[in-house]
């Protein structure tokens, strides 16, 4: 309690007493970046925050990850815009850490650098055939249909067969399954990228298999998304009744988590309903396949270098203590034919030069958001002025709201360090960054540039009866921003 009181008093003291400018740079403009900016601005009256992002458009995965048919999730953009428009805050887009400027240069310019650039890579399965064409990570596919400028040319093959396999049963897996199976008439009025809508209109995919190596009780998806997909019209759900039997260990897991219990009940209801529905030739099907892990990808005989199926091994669950169960192979195999595989098994962060990185966990080692340079025994040596927030700090888990508390913790650490007078030197801050970018001829995009892109997209959207028509190439985005 006294700790809270002390922190409260200190932050009040410093917010009123410190008019000495505190220069903060946040790398990454997704939820983690914006929540951190918001809290820093509120906690310190002398703080000036610059949010940089390698894309000309801000908001990170809220813009490029949230599915087009989930517009209510994107409302958070309103709040983030207000933060960006704060007089002590600036958004600077099209600036890439690692190529336009280095981490050490950034640390020289700012008192505080917070890395919140998330996870732009994927976990690998490490099984044979992973490099065959037709196998994409879900992240690439999501960025493709959301009009991310790096993936607008992906051109996934949706016409070779009627089956697609998705490895993983989290919300991202459900998102891509839904986009593949939703009638395109419903997608036409969302902000889905036009090239994706055209491709989906010609798609022959009618069956999507969601493969999970464990059972329905362990599925990583959440109730809201499951409810949504179970409610899609003319979409038939297939779940094997045998997969739904629960063991005592499963019961334990459900007791500790009300979410899991609710998901299991939803899946059971769906399985029961599926039995009564008739098969119909042109129907769209979503199969939940449990207790299977991919062993290798099969190459097509007709199209060399292209995937034609997945070889799956049956699994059973083994307890590893503390209520956790893992999947263990049984040695029985089966094949599943498909023309496209999407790996939705998790994201991975990408390190930059000069940044300590834990390659095993795929995160930056940290203690409450302070980056750790090395650990000897119990003592962790932290890097002064360097912090992390979001997926780069915790791993690629959680929802948008999770970043709220993550940011609170990181900003708490920043405030504590300020209290201890860690930085007394003056830094160049924004001015220094602008000079550096000028020198390097970087075409930065400020928030007003994003507002021009936003206005243009909305204008184009009105013409097509969509909330917005996204600009999907770097050239288009930069041209609209400079207009």
């Amino acid at each position: 309690m006294s700790r809270y009181l002390a922190r409260y008093m200190v932050s009040r003291y410093f917010s009123s007493a410190s008019s000495r400018p505190l220069h903060v740079c946040i790398v990454g403009s997704g939820p983690a970046g914006f929540y951190t900016a918001d809290k820093v601005l509120k906690a310190h009256e002398g703080a000036h925050v610059d949010i940089i992002d390698r894309l000309p458009t801000p908001f990170g995965l809220v813009r490029s990850g949230v599915a087009p048919d989930h517009p209510e999730t994107k409302i958070a953009i309103n709040q983030f815009s207000r933060v960006a428009q704060h007089e002590r805050c600036s958004f600077i887009g099209n600036v890439k850490l690692g190529s336009d400027l280095s981490l050490s240069e950034l640390r020289d310019l700012y008192h505080v650098v917070v890395l919140a650039y998330g996870a732009e890579s994927d976990k690998d399965l490490g099984i044979p055939g992973e490099s065959l064409s037709g196998i994409y990570s879900a992240r690439e596919f999501v960025w493709w249909y959301n009009g991310h400028p790096d993936y607008s040319c992906l051109k996934p093959d949706l016409k070779t067969s009627d089956s697609a396999v998705i490895l993983g049963q989290g919300n991202v897996a459900l998102d891509v399954a839904r986009i593949l199976l939703r009638p395109t008439t419903e997608l036409a009025s969302t902000d889905i990228a036009t090239h994706a809508l055209s491709a989906l209109k010609e798609s022959s995919i009618r069956k999507v298999y969601l493969i999970g190596r464990r059972g329905p009780v362990q599925a990583a998806l959440t109730a809201k998304e499951l409810r949504e997909v179970l409610g899609i019209k003319n979409l038939h759900i297939r779940i094997k009744q045998t997969d739904l039997s629960v063991t005592p260990a499963d019961e334990e897991e459900m007791k500790t988590s009300r979410a899991r219990k609710r998901i299991y009940e939803l899946l059971s209801k769906a399985a029961a309903a599926a039995k009564t529905s008739k098969a119909d030739p042109d129907q769209r099907e979503l199969h939940f396949v449990f207790f299977r892990q991919p062993d290798q990808f099969l190459e097509s005989d007709e199209r060399k270098g292209h995937v034609s199926g997945v070889n799956l091994q049956k699994t059973i669950l083994e307890s590893v203590g503390t209520g956790k169960q893992i999947a263990v192979g049984t040695g029985e195999f089966e094949d599943l034919n498909c023309s496209m595989v999407l790996k939705a098994i998790g994201y991975k962060s990408v390190p930059v030069n000069g940044l300590p990185f834990d390659h095993k966990k795929g995160v930056v080692p940290n203690v409450k958001g302070r980056v750790v340079s090395h650990t000897s025994g119990d003592i962790s040596q932290t890097e002064p002025g360097l912090y992390v927030c979001g997926w780069l700090k915790r791993g690629p888990v959680g929802i948008i709201a999770t970043n709220l508390y993550c940011a609170e913790e990181t900003v708490g650490s920043i405030s504590e360090d300020i209290e201890e007078g860690v930085w007394k030197s003056s830094k160049a801050g924004s001015k220094g960054l602008m000079q550096l970018l000028e020198k390097r001829k970087v075409k930065k995009v400020e928030f007003s540039g994003w507002e021009k892109i936003d206005a243009k997209e909305k204008q184009m959207g009105i013409e097509r009866n969509k909330p917005r028509e996204k600009l999907v190439t770097w050239e288009d985005l930069l041209a609209a921003a400079a207009n």
Partner: protein, 290 residues
């Protein structure tokens, strides 16, 4: 940046429109702006339409009456503290679309005089309504405007007084106590029918509302500190439960603030705002069994 539409009240039947685009720094001289924090509603659509502000003009010596109108949100007395007024000359009414930069500019008090003739209101509404029809941007706001104007106007029919507290029929309020992240207690009064998220925002309490009440996030998560009060609340819907499942620091008496509507039985309820510093694990916590 905002777009303001000026209505000249020297001739209340016909009106002139003046459109200008400016920033809050270079607003034209002599304009009075009444900044009203709009009501939060479940649908994002309605919320955006209502993001505008009106002003109440001083008495214009040229006109025989001074019309004005308020949004429904003005009726809460808490809001009266959050209105900012800048002197208006020439009796112009400004309507600002998307004015608030930091969520809401919460500053000063209402001016002393507020003249509330009803008939003026109606004529004003008609002329404003005509204007609204001509503007595609504000077209959709007409209906919500009408709602706002006439739903609670009984309050203003009889009142010529200065504050909204005095008046014909006062909206009943209940006492709500927020316990924030630092353990500090904040006592507020919430009108019956308002949801807790909205009430928190009107009182500058740091309760996030990322999806602005659309049941698409869990950032307005509050913990009802007494089980007795928790039991008085309506059962959460499936949609609310789905979002609560993901809430940080979930407890057996957790609810989403945007779904808790103030009613007389909740007078004196204490709501805690979950915090990372409250010994909840930031990642991988296990919620208590429900």
């Amino acid at each position: 940046m905002y777009i303001g539409i000026g209505l000249d009240w020297s001739d209340p039947v016909r009106y002139g429109c003046e459109k200008f685009v400016g920033t809050s720094k270079n607003k034209p001289e002599g304009f009075r702006i009444l900044l009203v924090k709009e009501r939060k509603k479940k649908s994002a659509e309605i919320l955006r339409r209502r993001r505008f502000c009106l002003s109440s003009p001083r008495t214009n010596p040229k006109s025989s009456f001074t019309p004005f109108f308020h949004l429904q949100a003005l009726l809460s007395s808490n809001l009266s503290k959050s209105l900012k007024l800048i002197p208006l000359g020439g009796a112009k009414i400004m309507v600002f679309h998307r004015l608030s930069r930091l969520g809401s500019r919460i500053v000063k008090e209402l001016p002393r005089e507020r003249h509330l003739p009803v008939f003026g209101m109606r004529i004003l509404h008609r002329s404003y309504g005509q204007y609204l029809q001509s503007s595609p941007m504000l077209q959709r706001q007409t209906r919500s405007f009408k709602e706002a104007l006439f739903s609670n106007n009984h309050k203003f029919c009889t009142s010529f007084s200065t504050t909204s507290e005095k008046g014909g029929k006062e909206t009943e309020k209940i006492n709500v106590i927020f316990v924030d992240k630092d353990g500090e207690e904040i006592h507020i009064k919430v009108p019956i029918g308002m949801n807790i998220l909205e009430a928190a925002h009107e009182n500058d309490i740091e309760l996030e509302g990322a999806c602005e009440g659309s049941l698409a996030c869990s950032t307005c998560h509050v913990i009802v500190m007494d089980t007795e009060y928790y039991n008085k609340l309506e059962e959460p819907t499936d949609e609310e439960n789905d979002m609560l499942d993901l809430a940080f620091g979930l407890t057996a008496t957790s609810r989403l603030g945007c779904q808790v509507i103030a009613k007389p039985e909740l007078d004196g309820v204490r709501l805690a705002i979950p915090s990372a510093t409250r010994n909840f694990a930031v990642d991988g916590f296990v919620p208590k069994p429900h």
